[in-house]
Amino acid sequence: MERTIYREIEATGRVWGLAVILVGFVLAALASFFYVEHYGHIVTGMTNRIVWGLPHVFAIFLIVAASGALNVASIASVFEQKAYRPKARLSALMAMSLLIGGLMILVLDLGRADRILIAATTYNFSSIFAWNLILYTGFLGIAGAYLFAQMSKSVPYAVTRKVGLLAFVWRLALTTGTGSIFGWLVARPGYDAAIMAPMFIAMSFAFGLAMFLLMTSTLCRLSDRPIGDQLMQRLGRLLAVFVAAVLYFTAARHLTNLYTMEHAGFERFTLVDGGIYTTLFWLGQILIGGLLPLAILLLPVFGKSPKAPLVASALVVIGGFAQIYVIVIGGQAYPMEVFPGYEVVTGSGMSGIAEYTPSLPELLLGLGGVAVTLLAVGVGTKTLRILPTNLSDANIG
């Protein structure tokens, strides 16, 4: 049995071609940023009622996926699964890259992005948002240290394990913080639920692993390195567990809401007559992001296909976007019950379901964040010894 050998990927024409395309997306995102910065958010689809729009959907997806992507490394060093160890470096790199991409979107969408230094130096510790800034930067540091510990020959394995444990605990805290951004918004019927935190953790497990599978197989294909079918299927079965967990938390959240009359209106909006949000919920999140991947991963008809885990991962990513869209935008679109028992007849910008049409600059900014993530993974694997030369089943057993 060959030892795991890590090597930089080679800069082939295909790699360069991909890099050029990604840089194009990053430039488009920067152009959108300056455009919005110049004219103000009036040129986006965001309003006083939908204050967080498409960029935030992208950002939250990437940030949630970031902590999930670290799980492969955690499984290797915290839960002592040797088969996962060759992918641990990649896992840490992807976690950092996803977080950087997500944070870039969040920062560039700020009304005053030029004041990022104020955000970094002036803290209000009763704000979960401020805590998240600490959790995010801490995560980057810890994941970086974890990567270093794995790659350095002088760091003993026991230390690497400890850093890995810290990273695992930290990532749980991070996703709890991200979920709590919504869970602690007491005034809005679409949020205000403690279950947001564990649900976001389940989402991070699923989205992170799906992104990991997609990116790893792409990297292996780009660098002509083998990746074992059994390995993919093993990760695929794990993905199935995570997808089931997301469905479970989703069911628990909505069933709880349905039981309280107070939330019946919001549930009706999400599940029955919310238009785009209802469609995205049932078709996007539940069918494409939940039931279909489960069927592909678990039913014996598809289970033997080597492509199955990849197809399922792609579906989980699409469903994940739909889920976050419904949570972020749908949760804002549904009006707050300021006057129980009354219906607002006229009230400038306070009545009915808020409308939102995403604009091109928002989409470009979001895609730019994804491009930054992929570029960072590419540059990382190009310059550092992160990707194993051989991930075939025979080699890693």
């Binding site: 910065e37 004219y39 103000g40 958010h41 009036i42 309003t47 006083n48 009622r49 204050v51 967080w52 700020l110 009304g111 005053r112 992005a113 004041r115 990022i116 104020i118 955000a119 002036t122 803290y123 209000n124 009763s126 704000s127 979960i128 948002f129 401020a130 800034l133 951004i181 602690w184 918004l185 007491v186 005034a187 809005r188 804002q332 707050m336 300021v338 006057f339 028992g341 009354y342 219906e343 607002v344 007849v345 006229t346 009230g347 400038s348 910008g349 306070m350 808020a354 409308e355």
Partner: protein, 248 residues
Amino acid sequence: MKIPTLKGADISRRDFLRSGAAVATATLAPGVTLMAFGGSEAHAAADADKRWGLLIDANKCDADCDACVSACSKENGWAGEGNPETDPQWIRKITMQNTSTGREVTMPMMCQHCEEPPCVDVCPTGASFKRVDGIVLVDKHTCIGCRYCMMACPFDARSFVHEPVINQKSHAPRGQGTVESCTLCVHRIDKGGRPACVEACEATGHEAIIFGDLRDPESDISKRLAQYPSVALRPDLDLNPGVRYTNL
């Protein structure tokens, strides 16, 4: 309803100075401050022994009148461009109908100046803050425009400045990329005045908005609150807003 209690007999240095005589201060050199008694009037400043509030009588409010809104707009230099979803909305008129009885009610809505403001809790930089006299404001010097306060506000009371602004009033700075809301005309209050909406409503003869100190049991607003039924919006959240409504 929570009634704000009067604080104990702890007299701050500022009150002590104020009670004796008016104070004038002068900076002789950096670090050396001269304080003199007598002379000009004392600096009117935020006072922890006060809590400013409004009492809005929905019965006296006329559905066809928007004097309070236009007075606010004029006083603070904000104006809409015809799109209520992106326009600044420091104060707005709401007309609503009881879903079971059909009764129509009309009234102005603005920042409720909560005692426990969610916007202040969630603001990552501390730009959203509450003055000691209960007025909730945005410090636009530290606002980064993240809009989390708008997510947290139960009353949709805040707006985000979606476009570049010029020609602001010098007492009401506002700018692109930051969040803003009703200041309770803090610049007037600090000089002993009343909010523009209150004066405008009074001028129309409706007198639907009453302004005063909730901590002073002798103030008109406190007496009325003690005497007649009134409600806070979203009482379930227990935020103890400084703006109260009667005859809803």
